[in-house]
Symmetry: C2
Subunit: 240 residues, 2 copies
């Protein structure tokens, strides 16, 4: 099997890739011709709960989520798990290891998942045919750096209701394909994971969801969420 072509053989998998959307690239051959294929390792499949890598592990490379969802976690010295980020299809992870050479957090699959890894050697190589791809990658890196910022903004909100509304609103945006507008979604993570991600007790998260339901903003059935009033949700996320 050819590792390079395997990782991007399927158009379905590459369609939402963050590395792809660049000026004109719909050329003949379609999705099969991923410009990053030469840099990638074979796709890797993960089972629910399986660990992609642990904090302290040597940097294997930057990772792209193709399917499923993962979380980055670290542990406070008292053993408390902190969820630093969720990683959805099309998003990059592992950038924080580019400098230190080793990962700063554990990354665990929330469900069965497929990822695409780019060895760091390829990224740092100064071979010229890859220069264009490198530029594109630099942009993707900036994108990822930018994605951390909203998380900080969220955590700076001191009202639990605001945090929960913001979290939901942003997850919605990240999950919906460009142009579409999701009306319902199934959360890939537990209430506990959400709580550890937005800095609240899990009971507070649960109460928050219930409250949003009572107010007619969403409808909750466990992890299945129906958005009844997207504007109200956005308003709650942005105001107060």
């Amino acid at each position: 099997m050819d590792p390079a072509s395997d990782s991007c053989r399927s158009g379905r998998l590459c369609a939402r890739c963050v590395l792809r959307p660049v000026a004109g690239q719909p050329g003949p051959g379609g999705d099969a011709s991923c410009p990053f294929a030469p840099l990638a390792e074979p796709l890797r499949q993960l089972a629910r709960g399986e660990r992609l890598h642990a904090g302290g592990d040597e940097l294997d490379g930057v990772t792209l989520v193709v399917e499923g969802a993962l979380k980055s976690v670290c542990f406070a010295p008292d053993g408390e798990e902190q969820v630093l980020a969720f990683h959805l299809p099309g998003e990059l992870l592992g950038l924080d290891a580019l400098s230190a050479g080793r990962h700063g957090s554990d990354v665990v699959a929330l469900s069965s998942a497929i990822v695409c890894q780019f060895p760091v050697d390829g990224l740092l190589s100064r071979a010229t045919p890859r220069a264009v791809a490198q530029g594109r990658l630099l942009r993707a890196i900036g994108e990822s750096a930018a994605r951390d910022r909203p998380q900080v903004q969220l955590l700076l909100r001191r009202q639990a209701a605001e945090r929960i509304a913001l979290f939901l609103d942003r997850l919605l945006i990240r999950m919906q394909p460009p142009g579409e507008s999701l009306v319902e979604l199934t959360l890939p993570m537990s209430r506990d994971d959400i709580a550890r991600h937005i800095g609240l007790a899990l009971e507070t998260v649960s109460r928050g969801f219930t409250r949003l339901q009572d107010d007619g903003v969403i409808r909750v059935l466990g992890r299945h969420i129906e958005i009844r009033d997207p504007d109200a949700l956005a308003r709650l996320a942005r105001r107060s």
Copy 2:
């Protein structure tokens, strides 16, 4: 005046540059030979309160803090200022704009400051003599991405005392030159700025400092902080 050489003419200014510390580079010529000089614009001086750029501004380039301190702020829709980050000498800022092409937050000088800017064109250029510098830059980018993570970790702590201790401990680490161990420091930011950065009310921050003083961990005189028991501080930051 030659812009390129001006930006790194002074060894004093470049000594702590994040871009500099690479394998062997002490060669003759010393600090004057900054390998990034060809990529940089002339140094820029900022007065206290002066804005380097605003959120939404077109990306001018990645910025290195040479002297002084700055803060990145954004405003919640209700007008509340949120301090996303503080930027100290030797640190990079503006990475989050690499993808969108425009800055995501206002950056304001906390005191008079000097910065060194790298136009984005130079960074994306695939000219080969710069390839090495690009690799180094990629590492610096990863470093910056990694610096955002601790902020999230900090905000996930729910106890005010922990957040304050963590904030102080990390600021200490960032401010002390490698190898040295600071015993006292002068905070470049106000209690209000700290509060808006770690998600607390300014009164809570003030009380936290007082508490640390009462416990014999630090000594407080306004913005001047003396570390009386570094181990205790580290312990508070990492435990409970």
